[in-house]
Symmetry: C2
Subunit: 190 residues, 2 copies
């Protein structure tokens, strides 16, 4: 028996993206976003939603670019910090002890301490209500050499932070099944 929890924003799981931009003064800024995800295979597109008053919003529009850095569990405190203060008043990279690395492909910085990052060119934006949906074309994904595995990602080493519907950040747990494979056993035998 299910109970109604009402009309609310809830998905399982949610990410904790670190969105990197340069502001109007060319200063690096970073913001945490749980609203977003991959939205298209070709072109490769990722979406992040940002409220218009956020410092990041103007930065995305000015430079038509942003990055998404995927924080590991060891950066939970820094990730949370980037979500609760504004780049208007804070040099979040400096105060959190994080390194702003200038992308050589788009006009935006990424978080050097994150083992995997995506560099994005603004592809489209849509006003949705409280949030603007920024859709970025991923022009490159970069990963620390030891985290890149056979052209993919070693998830144990990337150790991505996951945002839960309980208001907590979580670690990723163990692998349970192989995608595009485990389900074959359920195909009816002809």
């Amino acid at each position: 028996m299910k109970v109604s929890l009402g009309a609310r924003t809830l998905a399982l799981p949610m990410p904790a993206f670190l969105v990197g931009t340069y502001d109007a003064n060319g200063r690096p800024n970073v913001m945490t976003a749980a609203w977003g995800g991959i939205v298209c295979s070709e072109p490769p597109l990722v979406a992040v939603s940002v409220r218009p008053p956020r410092w990041t919003h103007a930065g995305v529009l000015k430079n038509k670019a942003f990055t998404v850095s995927f924080p590991p569990a060891r950066l939970a405190v820094e990730t949370d910090f980037a979500g609760i203060v504004s780049g208007k008043d804070h040099d979040k990279f400096k105060e959190a002890g994080l390194t702003a690395v200038k992308s050589d492909l788009v006009e935006a910085p990424y978080v050097g301490e994150c083992p995997v990052v995506a560099e994005c060119r603004l592809h489209a934006s849509h006003e949705l209500g409280t949030h603007t949906l920024f859709i970025g074309e991923i022009v490159d994904v970069k990963a620390d050499r030891e985290v890149a595995a056979d052209g993919g990602i070693d998830m144990r080493k990337a150790d991505p932070l996951v945002f839960g519907a309980d208001g907590n950040y979580h670690k990723l747990g163990p692998r349970v099944a192989r995608a595009f494979s485990a389900g074959k056993d359920l195909k009816p035998k002809s």
Copy 2:
């Protein structure tokens, strides 16, 4: 030192949403989608991306509705199955042993075995390339009584499946920090 992995669809973490629809014949169908996420707070909106040839695509457009069921780790095989066969040729609910529960709010079925589900009315759609971005307004979230905790979700009981950039489904791991709280320690003391 980071290495380039090229322009590709990669985010950490990704979800494994089960998107429920009725097809043109009123038959329940379900499809796995890792492309999507929450995109707006007010109205509460969730996005899922679907390729136009997919059976689900016509179902969303016909009924202007879909559901998103959040599969627990114990349904990894069923979730994968729903991603590798088509509703055109398969009664996926029946073949996977899942229960199609008719929503009383929107014209779409959800997966009864999933402890948490969201019922959505189609709000907007955008053609992005290979995929159509369907943005749904969440009209209700429903959860099994034992999974709903203090108005939120007990993540250990919900045990959501997480899609990794290594091509595997994972379990959620332990909590590492409290959101909107842990980062306060980094605020400069004035």
